[in-house]
């Protein structure tokens, strides 16, 4: 899931305070926002683009490549189903705290329709020098510069810090893919890793993970088959271990989820795992020379 400058973007929930702030920044950066959705404000112009009652009605007038969903948590399911039914091929769900039941429902519907979903709870996608969608500081020159490093991150804030270190070391990013911090998401760390592997502009990949779940262990399985160098930072080594999810949780997850498990899986797959974020610069210098 790499977003390109020619793609036409719909923003669902465009009139909200945060959505307005970020839509303006997306537009200033060159993202082609063509319309917004707010069922109660259909017909107005907001951020210089028309507002529709639904994604379906927007799609009747316009070609849409990506919908960015910035509606309140309990409205996400309906907004996503609307966009899927409208035939929008990619959804980027930024909203945090979406109930898991709704996420599972909309992801199943997206799978049936062949719609790609990023998120929920993603900070967004950045293609430096081209465009960005979501809530990322793409416009900060100390953090995002065009270059050969593909970055995949569960966390927006930590992903941003890693990008700061990448640019500080004289590199730039081919793409930043925020997959989202929730346990169940549409595009996994592993999916993003495979996309960056297939991207011509990407020469090395930085994987930013964190403890909990099995996302990094799954990514490690596909890292075996990837020739491009992969560097990882996994947050949570010093965190107190999380609460147990009953016997069923322990039976399903086994020992996956801990820092040790992720470190082991990635190291075995040939990924170098860093101790601190600032080590990313020297590590990239080593693999790209």
């Amino acid at each position: 899931m790499i977003v390109r400058g020619h793609e036409r973007i719909l923003v669902q929930g465009i009139t909200g305070t945060q959505a307005t702030f970020w839509t303006e920044r997306m537009q200033a950066y060159g993202t082609d926002v063509v319309a917004g959705v707010n069922p109660k404000k259909a017909g107005i112009i907001h951020c210089g683009v028309p507002v529709y009652a639904s994604a379906t009605s927007a799609a009747a007038d316009l070609e849409l490549d990506v919908s960015v969903i910035l509606v309140p948590p309990f409205s996400v399911k309906a907004a996503a189903i609307d966009a899927i039914e409208a035939g929008v091929p990619k959804l980027v769900i930024v909203t945090e705290h979406v109930p898991i039941k709704d996420v599972m429902y909309l992801l199943a519907a997206a799978r049936d329709a062949g719609t790609r979903v990023v998120g929920p709870n993603t900070a967004g996608l950045v293609t430096p020098g081209e465009c960005f969608v979501g809530l990322m500081p793409a416009f900060e020159a100390s953090i995002f510069q065009p270059g050969p490093i593909g970055v995949v991150s569960r966390s927006g804030s930590l992903g941003t810090l890693i990008c700061l270190n990448i640019v500080g070391a004289g590199f730039g990013e081919s793409a930043f893919i925020g997959v989202g911090g929730d346990p169940i998401i549409g595009t996994t760390t592993r999916d993003a890793l495979e996309m960056l592997d297939g991207d011509d502009r990407t020469q090395a990949i930085v994987l930013v993970g964190e403890i909990g779940g099995a996302m990094e262990e799954r990514a490690a399985e596909s890292a075996y088959g990837i020739v491009k160098p992969i560097i990882a930072f996994i947050a949570g080594r010093a965190s107190p271990s999380g609460t147990r999810m009953g016997h069923a949780g322990a039976i399903v997850l086994g020992d996956k989820g801990s820092y040790a498990s992720k470190h082991r899986a990635l190291t075995r797959a040939g990924v170098s795992v860093l101790d601190t974020p600032s080590e990313v610069g020297p590590a990239l210098q080593e693999v790209l020379q």
Partner: protein, 381 residues
């Protein structure tokens, strides 16, 4: 959020799953009165700790005196690190066999996984390790419900005998409760088959998706009863997630990922974090409340502020922090690293209002915080 055993059983009972008759008691006298109504009973500590039975939190009582004594020994004691303030006094069931049933949200498939084992009870995790073939599971589409026929197929041939149909019905009801309550996990362990062949849920564990509490009013009212320290309670009232740790480097960062990474670097460089506190997400405007919380821990001798704004605007966070700093006049040195959205304005604010210059990297700020002498040490000189 964890729901206690008694409340969880009420929910599954409403859905038609049989549970033992029971009542809550907060004194030995109440437990004795309950036993007078119920006959031979089990007295169960109401704590959200795992392995409660192994830790001695479940006692049996044949007489009123024994019920009084059992409740007296449990109430006020600690089971699995949790203080017991309530016991559940339940009619005892003569157990013939113990099964394990659960429904969980499966991140791999994005569906509901329904689990069944013919052997359950206290040692279920060990049983599953040693005899993994006993665990039967199916994953269902999250848009659909578990069909009775699928549940029958799941338990078929496991050796349940005449109880098979009723156990399948319990699985169907359990999946409905899981879905209707926005659960992350619901588990009955054990589901007992009693000496008359009846099927009874002896324990129930229920974990609710916190993100759904706003549309689950019956569960939201139970949220206040989770055990917390005073500071943790103050934090959750302010909409912040705060966990007290045993170190002396106070820590304020935005976003869970960055907060964990900052803790990792503190530990990597030889320091010890005093807390976990993140003000990311929609809590990023709460800089004032966050600073008050961190500084109310008397062990904190220096403070690391690690901001890297994506969605969270560092100018808004620093604005809140500097106003709190002016109000509180803390006697603790602070070390900042500020990058990302709003960083230019945030850095200017820090210089103007507090005369503090942020460090170029998070590692630099942490190194300085670890090296800083505490104010007490300064006073000694």
């Amino acid at each position: 959020m964890n729901i206690g055993e008694h409340a969880s059983k009420r929910f599954i009972s409403e859905a038609g799953i049989r549970v033992p008759t029971g009542m809550l008691a907060t004194t030995p006298e109440q437990a004795e009165n309950a036993a007078a109504d119920l006959g031979r009973v089990m007295v169960k500590a109401q704590v959200p700790a795992g392995r409660r039975g192994k830790a001695g939190g479940i006692l049996s009582a044949d007489t009123l005196d024994e019920a009084h004594t059992a409740a007296g020994s449990l109430l006020g004691s600690e089971i699995g690190g949790q203080m017991v303030i309530e016991v559940l006094v339940e009619q005892r069931v003569e157990i013939d066999r113990e099964l394990f049933l659960a429904v969980v949200n499966d991140p791999e498939s994005g569906g509901y996984t329904v689990m069944f084992s013919i052997k359950g009870g206290m040692d279920v995790e060990e049983i599953m390790r040693e005899q993994p073939e006993l665990l039967r599971q199916i994953t269902i589409d999250p848009r659909l419900e578990l069909e009775h026929e699928s549940a029958v197929n799941l338990v078929e041939g496991a050796g349940l005998g005449p109880a098979a149909n009723e156990v399948a019905a319990v699985l169907v009801r359990l999946q409905r409760v899981h879905r209707d309550l926005d659960a992350e996990l619901i588990e009955i362990n054990p589901l007992a088959i009693d000496s008359q062949g009846g099927v009874v849920a002896l324990d129930c564990k229920l974990v609710i998706d916190d993100s759904a509490l706003g549309r689950q009013p019956r569960l939201a009212v139970l949220a206040g009863f989770e055990p917390q320290t005073d500071l943790e309670r103050t934090a959750s009232q302010a909409g912040l997630r705060y966990i007290e740790l045993d170190g002396d480097i106070g820590l304020l960062a935005n976003g869970a990922g960055l907060t964990m990474a900052t803790m990792d670097v503190i530990a990597h460089l030889g320091g010890r974090p005093a807390n976990f506190l993140e003000i990311g997400g929609d809590a990023y405007t709460k800089g004032h409340a966050a600073l008050e919380l961190v500084l109310s821990n008397p062990r904190v001798r220096s403070l690391v502020v690690s901001f890297c704004g994506a969605f969270a605007r560092t100018d808004v966070m620093v604005d809140g922090l500097t106003s709190a700093w002016t109000d509180l006049q803390p006697d603790v040195p602070a070390f900042f690293s500020v990058h990302g959205t709003g960083a230019v304005a945030a850095t200017a604010m820090l210089r103007e209002r507090l005369g503090i210059e942020p460090y170029p990297t998070m590692e630099d700020a942490i190194t300085a915080a670890i090296a800083a002498p505490s104010s007490a040490q300064k006073a000694d000189r």
